[in-house]
Subunit: 335 residues, 4 copies
């Protein structure tokens, strides 16, 4: 297998999906070993680092990429199999950014309240025990939490000539902030521009569903992934991001209000189940009603993201995309 190793210099960071020239071109089948900075560009390092002092709103969520995939054309499906996510620093950081987060006024939910106080938490990583430690700032309390690495952002260049901030999730993927984006899964994204122009970033050492305060345990990440391509004549591109794990089929919708994000993911899953099992949309709707898991992803970003998840165990054996996920798992195991 072809391999590519890439660690961007800060000048190479991308801050958008679309609108940036590719840093590299890769062949489908390439194993990529990437390094991603954290969402803060590494600027939050101590509890004394406050967002208003050290962050610049124009430089958040740096992306590693974009990568052009040779042969990818609009209508194709970009396939990214996450082989491994390993924390690349010995600590993660989380902070309350003024007018950002799920339980405070924002630039959109525009209120007259003052911002919540700025407060930063640093989570020390214990690689041996595979934990990060939450230490309360305003009382004497701490607790170790399991590391559960994920990528907040995985996305391609948007459709309709748009260029979107790396803080945005939408049909092109992007800043979905779902814990489902973990090692071992395969992500399917629609190709909108020649080369797909995908990037990854926003490593989280762990995150709850919803990403309530707006920032997970943000940390730089070493990412190993395999890129593949499904041509349009083999299978139509999904309308919205799909994820497959050994156990589950997953779709992610992103919009506002939150019910619309959920609706999008549900409809995409109904479409997927229809294709896989020859189900009429109303039968798929009914079946989904009884088996869907619906964990939230984020309720803080420019679009909210909601996950629809179905256990393969509830369904007859099928192999989406011709068994590509199993094949990628095998390839990953051989690395």
């Amino acid at each position: 297998m072809a391999e590519l190793e890439f660690t961007p210099t800060p000048e190479q960071y991308a801050w958008t999906f679309g609108g940036v020239a590719p840093v590299r071109e890769v062949e489908p089948g390439t194993v990529m070993r990437l390094w991603c900075d954290d969402a803060f560009g590494g600027r939050i390092r101590a509890v004394t680092d406050l967002p208003s002092a050290v962050l610049d709103a124009r430089f958040l969520n740096p992306q590693t990429g974009p990568f052009a995939v040779r042969g990818a054309e609009p209508g194709d499906t970009l396939v990214l199999h996450l082989v491994d996510l390993t924390p690349a620093r010995e600590w993660g950081a989380s902070t309350l950014v003024p007018f950002f987060g799920g339980l405070t006024g924002t630039d959109r939910t525009a209120l007259l309240d003052d911002p919540l106080p700025e407060l930063t938490w640093i989570y020390e990583l214990d690689r041996a025990r595979n934990t990060v430690t939450f230490v309360a700032r305003r009382s004497d309390f701490s607790v170790d939490l399991p590391v559960a690495p994920m990528l907040g952002t995985v996305g391609v260049a948007p459709a309709a000539r748009e260029v979107r901030s790396s803080l945005t999730p939408d049909a092109f993927g992007g800043n979905m902030d779902t814990p489902e984006m973990r090692a071992g899964v395969t992500c399917y994204l629609p190709v909108n521009e020649p080369g797909a122009l995908f990037s990854v970033g926003d490593g989280h050492y762990r995150q709850g569903e919803g990403e309530s305060c707006g920032t997970a345990v943000e940390g730089a990440m070493d990412v190993t992934l395999i890129v593949e391509l499904v041509k349009a004549d083999v299978a139509p591109a999904p309308l919205w991001p799909r994820i497959e794990s050994d156990e589950e089929l997953i779709t992610v919708g992103s919009s506002r209000p939150l019910e619309d994000a959920w609706r999008i993911g549900q409809k995409e899953m109904i479409s997927w189940l229809g294709t896989l099992h020859g189900l009429d949309r109303l039968d798929a709707y009914e079946l989904l009603t009884q088996i869907s898991l619906a964990p939230l992803a984020n309720v803080v970003d420019t679009n909210y993201s909601a996950v629809t998840k179905v256990s393969k165990a509830f369904l007859p054996r099928v192999d989406p995309y011709g068994g590509l996920h199993a094949d990628l798992r095998a390839r990953a195991a051989s690395l």
Copy 2:
């Protein structure tokens, strides 16, 4: 332990939370063995039974109750421990009710589209294998699904003199439609009216998160529960429903849009964590961000309901409400 057995006659069904005289008064500590009809009042029995023909909108979601709890006063906390939920019929039913459901226009999301076709599914129960069977209506497809009994509605009389339809979830509980309301959990509800006046109903043999099409595998249920009371001077009443299982702390918010339902549950959990662990609200907000699970409950009812769930394993050992849940589990085991 005092025991009460009660199966309502159809004339005894309650159709609201509040506004109805109690069918029985019980002492705290009573073991209650109840029967609940399904949400359709048993009128959907075959795939040929269509909602517009057999249902009457005034008679949906019959409640078993209300029960007055002796000594319950506004400000107290009503405690219902679900000992057992057992399907009371050999089949469950689900149907597409015109202008109802998450992926169609409704009386609120008022659109000009015609209603989706009416279609009914009957799920045969196999008690030996503990499954219900989904049988597609428009193709040759069927699949067995595990039975996972839950109660769609558990609620008390509302505050502010209101009387609400049994189809509504809100701060008083009600039609939350969350799969978390299963045997083995303890539910804590605020008492708004003397006697609390609680009722239960809307048995589901299983349901996905979100209850997409609007109706789960609806089925009559035999319910065993233990009722308890926490007086206001021992602990303040929760603002919104709380649920405790052996493994998890759970809150449920209900409102529209869906992000507000989520916010309510998150804030209630922040308050709960603050009380249990002496955490400042901002520390609790941060911790919740990293450990919250956020499965949806329903995106179809008059209010949407969203769950916030925290694993006890992530937290130092504490005993909410003085260890009442463990005590109720022990009592249930002795039945």
Copy 3:
């Protein structure tokens, strides 16, 4: 014409729609001369009166009523023609209630922010100049504003056995808080319970669209109205409140999120235009697109309310409800 004069004692105030015995029964055609207290029950009288000190959440928005209308049956249309609204005190009051209002966190949009400061404004009424005076609290600024009396609440007993707080607007009318509810208009409401059981209250000496901070220039009001009834066999009841003025047809939808409130009012207007002009729903949708006015009513109550308004000047001459509005205007002129 029969006449009824009624000023409730505080013990006669109603705090809900539904759930209360009528204070009087009236014949259709009766001229009613009523007095309504303000939403605070007159407790905010000086800028030193703060909500947390003088208000009790259980006693807000007192209603004058309910009145039973002889012969009114479910399916009929209750007709209330507002003849005159005259301020009944020499001042109005507005105040910032903690966790209430459109630009702050609330019990539903549950945030972690502290409440905004409590602040009260008193508006002196100048009857000669027909103005109320805004006096800034935190700078030296004042301005006279035209008096524009309206009723925040006009409603009947809800459907489906519900009892709703007088703070709630919904299909039964209630706390819609629209400036369109002014003298000279005719309001059409669906009858859900025998006698209709309507009440009025929540006088505003003036209010902007949206009622941003949550409280208008709240003031006690002398209300003169004529009650009428349209039986179900003459015309079907509207699904949602309708208002007719000399110049306009108006519908009011109430729900959350705000787009659903708007959708409800739009669909009700499409239905109304269809009936009046024999228009197919798609033609009415198109026509409405080009002529609808869409001023907001409230974005602060338990449901938000949005108005759809159509100028009669844009349409061929028709007489809704058999010319009842013109007839009532004539009757009012003769008083």
Copy 4:
């Protein structure tokens, strides 16, 4: 005054805000005489022209521009005074685009319903009577409506390196679709990129508030405007679009859900009133509550837009931006 006349060739149409090289550079003070094609690019010309047959989703809402304004830097305020809007064709068109519009499922409010039927209306323009004629498609009904020309889109290049479809309204202006954007008003927009890079388009011969079905009476437009610039050191740029007419101050917020669009506009107006009249934000909040008009703009686009409007008659005489609007009116009158 410098003058520029510009009619784009179809190859010069811009389909985005940002991401396109300017077609011309202009000095502040320039009088611009522009021609804009309609949102359909002129492809809907007869009732037999259906969207699915004649439209291409990649080519909707062509913009005339972008124009670079010499000297405009981020932080400045771009000022566009609309001198004249005159229909440039003898007919306007409106149509039901599948899965688009306020009262049907869309790509975001993702439902399982089939699309509404496609239907097109052509409105003949009568210049002498200044009317367009609505002709029902499914019954024998027609009505003349006053021409009320407006521009659906007026926008600059977005902030944060983004490029947005010309179908999107946001802080940069864009596809706000408000009837307030009519001849005689002055629009103030934040400059995000050097040169501002503004464009205009999407002429409507008339439109109701909300643009219910998604398309107004769409028509090509001759636009005369004067461009001006307020440097950052003279006045800070607004956060969101502002509009000034002889009688009113107006702000426009765009987001989802609709209440957030309204909140944005309200907060921007509170900020504006604070600057103009030295009002504390809570005093401005209170005053706005009593005087705000809140007509909707659109409830159909990728963001919904809501207007906040205040009559100057209610406020002490002030001259926003140093009396620039009055000055521009005078300049326009001299053309």
